[in-house]
Symmetry: C2
Amino acid sequence: MVYRRTHQVVKRLAARRSAILAAARDTCADGGMAAVQIAPVAIRANVAAGTVYRYFPSKADLISELIAEVSRDELAAIRRAADAAPGPSSALAAAVTTVAVHVVSHRKLSWGILAEPVEVDVTESRLASRREIAGEIELRISAAIRAGHLPAQDTALAAAALLGALHEALVGPMAPDNLDDQAKLRDAVQTVTLLALRAVGVMDARARGLVVQAVLPTRMVVGA
Amino acid sequence: MVYRRTHQVVKRLAARRSAILAAARDTCADGGMAAVQIAPVAIRANVAAGTVYRYFPSKADLISELIAEVSRDELAAIRRAADAAPGPSSALAAAVTTVAVHVVSHRKLSWGILAEPVEVDVTESRLASRREIAGEIELRISAAIRAGHLPAQDTALAAAALLGALHEALVGPMAPDNLDDQAKLRDAVQTVTLLALRAVGVMDARARGLVVQAVLPTRMVVGA
DNA sequence: AACGAGTCTGAACTAGTGTTCAGTTCTTAT
DNA sequence: ATAAGAACTGAACACTAGTTCAGACTCGTT
């Protein structure tokens, strides 16, 4: 008498797993990382607390996967935007704009993923997430340097600094709190993108042009 | 029979309070914010755990004061450096360099003060701390703009972004881990300062000059 | 239908720390 | 010296939230 998982069961299990992760993501988007506790997440996912532990060994693992998932999504968006751009400088501008728009569109989630205090240790996955995103930005910076549009520089440091600037200015506790307004939001994204581009050495006049081009086609998705 | 605090007692009480704060600071510098727990801090300050509560209503208050103290010190250093500079642009460069040197010199402490997860809620004092430092940087940016050395811009956003860049590049989890070497440390400080100045619109050539001038006189104090 | 394997439940358990407080020690004033 | 007010001690307490697990339930096979 061998018990085999029927296809239907496999699907249900996968669905549950996703539901738990989605519940964690929604909870984080609503109330930040602090709100991501096993009991509330379980309720939101319509399972009991114990069930969570049939899918994730520990809270740390759950949050790590959450971070990885969000990070994957963002990386994909960045690549898509950058690859669609006509040249290396526009690609960099597009990449930066994408990050900016993403973080302002999901402030709490981003803050939770990036830096908000958590009880459990998720340093590793946060680090991995940053490395992924920073690595992509670094690639784009390098390409622009090779194309002669930027001065030679320490690309790793530049990428890190660039992301730090975006994050602190747009999602950190110092971020302006009136970004609900669509217009102000767009202004903030433009300003910070311009700043970031200038930081790596794009000439001011050229940077303004790139920013306008990059921001225009970008969907400003505000909401949970 | 009135009991009055004699001068000697007042002094001893003040000394104890300072000792506790200093113990907290040292503990943070050694092991980050996570290590700042009442019991270890009390031991380090040569008092019992309960005594800490005669000086600070709660752990949150202790840490808040710690943050405020460190922040005050840093602000003073920034002002000193900037005020000693010959002009607005040099002042800005000096301010930025000071922040950079400070954070690389006390990485764990800075990380603890700035962003490391803590159990208790210290959002308020962290926010206050950032506002103080960012405010000072903002002043210097404004001065440089008024002097015609920088393009007009949203100074608040610029200051926040600038600090974010420094922090992420130099103390965050992505910071290069080989900054023990004095030379590499100086390189990193220079690179990031240059980046930050370019971000607010200093011309590349001019920025390089300012950075060299600002970094040279700055003491690189490495250690606890 | 019946049985076994897999899955789910949620109350109880656990662990780590901040906080308290009754008893002790120190300090001041007479 | 002595009494009374302050300060200190450190073991006990309390609280919070992650984790466990014995029992209930569901699903797949015969």
